[in-house]
C-alpha cells in the first residue's frame, strides 16, 4: 500500500465532503472539519507503525519530463525518523487546532476548514517529499491558505499581517526556487539522496557553487525559522492571526525552517556547513538573546510568546551549529518540543482571549481565581518553555547546550544567559497573568470546558512524555541521525 500518498492527500476527503455541505449547518461542518483531520492522524500512526515494522514506505513514480528527458522530475515520497516525527507533530497539532477552531471561529467556518485542510496537505507533503522540487511545491502550497486564514479570520491588522506573511515567505521561497532550479540545472537531479552523494564527492560542482547554495538555503529557511533580522513578519502573524492558525504556524510551519536547515543544509552541504558553523552559532545566539530581551519588554501576551518563539528557535540554530551528535539531536528535540509547547501556549491564550477579550498584560491578572485549570495549564506550559526538568523543553535545551559546550564553549557560556532570561520573561508574563493582582474582573468568566481541556491535556501529556522518556523519540530518530552524522564526517 502506498501509505504516504494516502496520508498526504487524505485531507482531500474532508475537502470533498465539506464542499457539498451547506454553510449554515455549523455543527455538521465543525464535526466534519475535525474528523477530516483525525483521518490523517490515524494514517500517520499507521505510517509510524509501518516505519518501525520495517516496511518500505518510499515510493517513486515518473511525473514530469522537460526537454524530452533532459530533466526528469519524479513524484517521490519517503520518510526518515526526523520527518516521521514531524509528520506526527503535524497531524496531532492539526487535529487539536481544528477542534480549537471549531469552537472559536464564528463566521465562515466552512471556508475556514476548506483552507485549513489544503494547508494540511501542504504541510504533510513538505515532510514527505523526497526531491527538492516536490518539497518546494508543497512548501508553496502552504502559502496560499495561510494568506487567507490570516487575512480573513485574524485580528485587527489581519490583512497587513497576511500580506507581510505572503511577501516575506514569497521572497524566501523565491530564493529557494532559484537555488533548486540551479541545482537541478547543474546536476540533473533533485533527489535528496542522490544530491547527498553528488555534493559529497566534490567533483560535480564547484566549491563556490556549494557555498552559494548553502547561503541561499540559510536565507530561505532563515525567513521561515525565523533568523533575526528576518523575523518581523512572524511576530506580526503571531499577534494578528487567529489563535487556531497561530497554533499551526508556531507549532509546525516554523519547523519547516528547522527541517530544511537540518535536512538540506547539513544533509546535502555538510562539508560547507562545518565551515560556517561558528557564524550560524552567532546568529543563533543573537536569536536567543534578542528574542528573550524583547519578550521581556512586551506588554501583550501574544507578543511575549512570539518573541519567545524567536528565542527558542535560536536554540535550534545553536544545536545545529555544534555539529556533533548531541547538538543536532538537541536541535531536533527543540524543534519537536517547541512545536508542542507553542501550540499549548497559544491554545491557552485563545482560551483567555475568549473570556476576557484582551491579551494586554496590564489588564490581565489573577486569572487563577476565575479559571484555576486554565491557569494551571498556562503555568505548566510556561515551565516547559523555560526548560524545567521533566518536561520536553529541558531535554532539548540540555542536549543542544551540551553539544555546543563541546565544540564552542565560549559561545555556549554566553548562551546560558539566554536560558536565564527565558525564565525571567516567562515567569513575568505567566505569573502575572495567573497569580498577579486582579486588575479587572471579567464578567462571565468560566474555566476550561471539556472541549478545551482535551487538547490541552493531550499536548501537556506529550510534553511530559518527551521530558520523562525521551527514548521514544531517539529510538525513531536513530537512523536519521546516524546518516546526518555520516554526512558531516562525525
Amino acid at each position: 500500500m502506498d501509505w504516504l500518498t494516502i496520508l498526504v492527500f487524505s485531507p482531500l476527503i474532508g475537502i470533498l465532503i465539506l464542499s457539498i455541505q451547506q454553510a449554515e449547518q455549523k455543527v455538521t461542518i465543525s464535526l466534519t472539519g475535525i474528523l477530516a483531520t483525525v483521518l490523517p492522524l490515524l494514517l500517520s500512526l499507521v505510517v509510524y507503525a509501518q516505519f518501525h515494522g520495517g516496511g518500505d514506505l518510499a515510493i517513486s513514480h515518473q511525473w514530469i519530463s522537460f526537454g524530452n528527458g533532459i530533466f526528469q522530475i519524479d513524484y517521490e515520497l519517503g520518510v526518515d525518523g526526523f520527518s516521521l516525527l514531524l509528520l506526527l507533530l503535524t497531524t496531532i497539532v492539526s487535529t487539536l487546532s481544528a477542534s480549537v477552531a471549531a469552537a472559536q471561529i464564528k463566521q465562515g467556518l466552512k471556508a475556514y476548514f476548506l483552507w485549513f485542510l489544503i494547508l494540511e496537505i501542504g504541510m504533510l507533503g513538505v515532510f514527505t517529499a523526497e526531491n527538492l522540487i516536490l518539497f518546494f511545491i508543497f512548501f508553496e502550497i502552504t502559502l496560499v491558505p495561510m494568506f487567507f486564514l490570516i487575512g480573513r479570520w485574524g485580528f485587527v491588522e489581519r490583512e497587513k499581517a497576511a500580506y507581510s506573511f505572503l511577501i516575506y515567505n514569497g521572497l524566501g521561497s523565491a530564493v529557494l526556487l532559484i537555488l533548486f532550479a540551479a541545482i537541478f540545472a547543474k546536476t540533473g537531479t533533485t533527489n535528496i539522496e542522490e544530491l547527498k552523494t553528488i555534493m559529497g564527492s566534490g567533483n560535480a560542482v564547484s566549491e563556490e557553487f556549494r557555498f552559494g547554495s548553502l547561503l541561499a538555503l540559510l536565507i530561505a529557511f532563515g525567513v521561515k525559522l525565523p533568523i533575526v533580522p528576518l523575523h518581523t513578519w512572524m511576530v506580526r502573524v503571531h499577534v494578528h492571526a487567529p489563535i487556531a492558525v497561530v497554533m499551526i504556524h508556531a507549532g509546525i510551519l516554523l519547523k519547516i525552517g528547522a527541517y530544511g536547515l537540518i535536512n538540506f543544509g547539513i544533509g546535502i552541504f555538510g562539508d560547507q556547513f562545518v565551515k560556517v558553523a561558528p557564524f550560524i552559532a552567532v546568529l543563533g545566539l543573537i536569536n536567543l538573546l534578542y528574542g528573550a530581551f524583547l519578550a521581556f519588554v512586551q506588554n501583550e501576551l501574544k507578543s511575549v510568546f512570539a518573541y519567545s518563539s524567536v528565542s527558542h528557535m535560536g536554540i535550534v540554530l545553536l544545536g545545529v551549529a555544534a555539529m556533533n551528535e548531541a547538538g543536532i539531536q538537541g536541535a531536533i528535540f527543540q524543534t519537536l518540543s517547541h512545536g508542542l509547547i507553542a501550540a499549548l501556549l497559544f491554545l491557552l491564550v485563545g482560551v483567555i482571549y475568549e473570556r476576557t477579550h484582551t491579551t494586554k498584560l496590564r489588564s490581565l491578572g489573577g486569572l487563577a481565581k476565575g479559571m484555576p485549570l486554565a491557569a494551571g495549564f498556562l503555568l505548566a506550559a510556561g515551565l516547559a518553555s523555560l526548560g524545567l526538568p521533566g518536561m520536553s523543553g529541558f531535554v532539548s535545551e540540555f542536549m543542544a547546550f551540551l553539544g555546543l559546550f563541546e565544540s564552542m564553549p565560549w559561545l555556549a557560556a554566553i548562551g546560558t544567559i539566554g536560558i536565564i532570561m527565558t525564565a525571567v520573561y516567562i515567569l513575568r508574563a505567566v505569573l502575572g497573568v495567573t497569580y498577579g493582582k486582579t486588575v479587572k474582573s471579567f464578567a462571565g468568566m468560566y474555566d476550561l470546558t471539556r472541549r478545551e481541556m482535551i487538547p490541552a491535556a493531550a499536548l501537556l501529556a506529550l510534553i511530559v512524555l518527551i521530558g520523562v522518556y525521551p527514548n521514544f523519540i531517539t529510538h525513531t530518530l536513530q537512523y536519521a541521525l546516524e546518516s546526518i552524522m555520516l554526512g558531516i564526517g562525525g
Binding site: G67, L166, I178, A182, F184, A185
Partner: protein, 501 residues
Amino acid sequence: MDIDTLLSYEWSMMAPEFTILLVATALSLIDLFASKNVDRKHFGWFGIGGIAVALIFLISQIGHEPAMILANTYRLDAFSLSFKILLLLGSLLVLLMGVSFEAKGELTYRGEFYYLLLTALLGAMMMASSADLITLFVGLELLTISSYILAGTRKKSKYSNEAAMKYVINGGISTAFTLFGMSYIYGLTGSTNLADISREISNITPANGQVLLSIAFILTFVGLAFKISSVPFQMWAPDVYQGAPTPVTAFLSVVSKTAGFIIIIRVLISIFPFTQGFEENTSLLHSLMIFLSILAGITMIVGNTIALKQRNIKRLFAYSSIAHAGYLLVPFVAFSELMFESMWFYLVAYLLMNIGAFAIIQVMTEHNDSEDVSIFAGLYYRRPWVAIMMTVFLLSLAGIPGTAGFIGKLNIFIGALFSDPSRYILAAVMIGTTVISYFYYFGIMAQMFMRPAGSATQVRLPIGVTITMVFCAVGTITLGLFPGVILEFFQTQFNFAEMFY
C-alpha cells in the same frame, strides 16, 4: 508562374487557412446582405464552427514532412504547426466569450466583430507559416489592421475610440521600425526569402556588414516588441486593453501576443544564429542577447511594479500581460535546448489562464457596469464556483504550484539556468518580480474572499462564457498536476530541427 506550377502545389497544406478565409468571407457577405434583424450572435457560432474545422485540419497535418509551397514562401513545419494550434485554440475560446458579450448602451449590431477576428486570426496563421519576409509582413499587417478596428468597435465609448487611435499610431511607428530593420537584412543579403537569407548571411563578417546587421536586429526586434507588448513598445497596452471590448482585449493579450512571439522566433532564429558574433566562435544572436536580456528584465519590472497601482481591472491585466511578455522572453534569451518547449508550454498555460480570467472579468464588468477591482468584492459568497475558478487563474498567473503557470515558470527557470552561460540575473529578476506580482493577484483574491459583497443581484452566466471558463480552469489545473499530458505530445510530435533550412 503558369497555371501548371500553381496547380502542382500541395494546397492541402493550407486547408486550415482556407477554412478561416472562407468563413470570414462568408460572414462578411452575409453581414452585408442580411437584414438588421438577424441576430449576429449566430455569426459567432458559425465562426466557432469554422475554427473547429480548421483545428481538425491542422491536427491531421501533425507529423507532416516539412514542406514549402508558393515559391518557398509558405512553410509547413513543426514550428508552424505547434504554434498554429495555440492561435486557433485561443481564437476559439475568445469567440466563445464573444458570443456572450453584451456591453451596455452599445450597438447590438456587430457582425464585424466576428469576421474581423477571423481575419486577424488568418494573419496570425500566415505569420506562423511564412518563410519569406514579405509574406511575414503581409500576415503581420493583416493581423494588426484587423486589431485596430476591433479595438475601436465600441463606437460610443470614448475609451474605445482613444484605444483604437493610440493603437494605430503606435502600431504605425513600430511597423516602420520593423520594416526598416528588414530593409537592412534585404540590403545585406539581396533576398527576402528566409532560406536564402540564412545561406547568404554566413558571408557577413565583422569587417563586412556586421554593424549593419546588428542594427537590423535591434530595429526589427524593437518594432516587433509592439506585438508582444514588451519594452520599449508597451505603452499602448494599458489604454487599448482598457478601451477595447473585453473579448478583443483577451484576443490581443493572448492570440496577438502569441503571434508576436512566433514572428520574433521565426525571423531572429532563421537569420542571426548563422553569422559570426563580436567574438570568435559565437553567433551574432548570442552576442546581441544581452540587449534582449536587458529589455526582458525591464519589461518584467515595469509590468509588475506599475500593476501594483492599478485599480482598473483591465489596466491591471494589461500590465500583467506586459510582465508575462517579459517572462516569455527569458527562454528566448537563454536559448537552451528547452527554449521551444518552455515558450510553447508557457504560451499554452498563459492562453488558458489569461482567457479564463478575461472571461470572468467580462462577466463581472458587464454585471456591475464598472471596471474597478472592487467589483470582485465578496464574489465567493455570491458565486463560489466563479470565485474558485478566478482563484485558479490568478494563482496560475502568479505561478503558484498546482497550476499550469507554475510548471511553465519552472520550465523557463531550469532552461535559463541550464543554458550556457547561466542567466542567473535574469532568472533572479523574473522570480523577484513574480513575488511582487503576488501583491496584485492576491489583492483581487482578497476582494473575492475577504470583503463583503457589494451588490446583491446574482451574476448572470451565459453559456459561451461558462464553457470558456470551465475549459480554461480544468485545463489550468490538469496541466499543473499532469503536465506530461501535453509535454509528451509536444516532445514526440514536433521535431524543431525541421525549422532550420
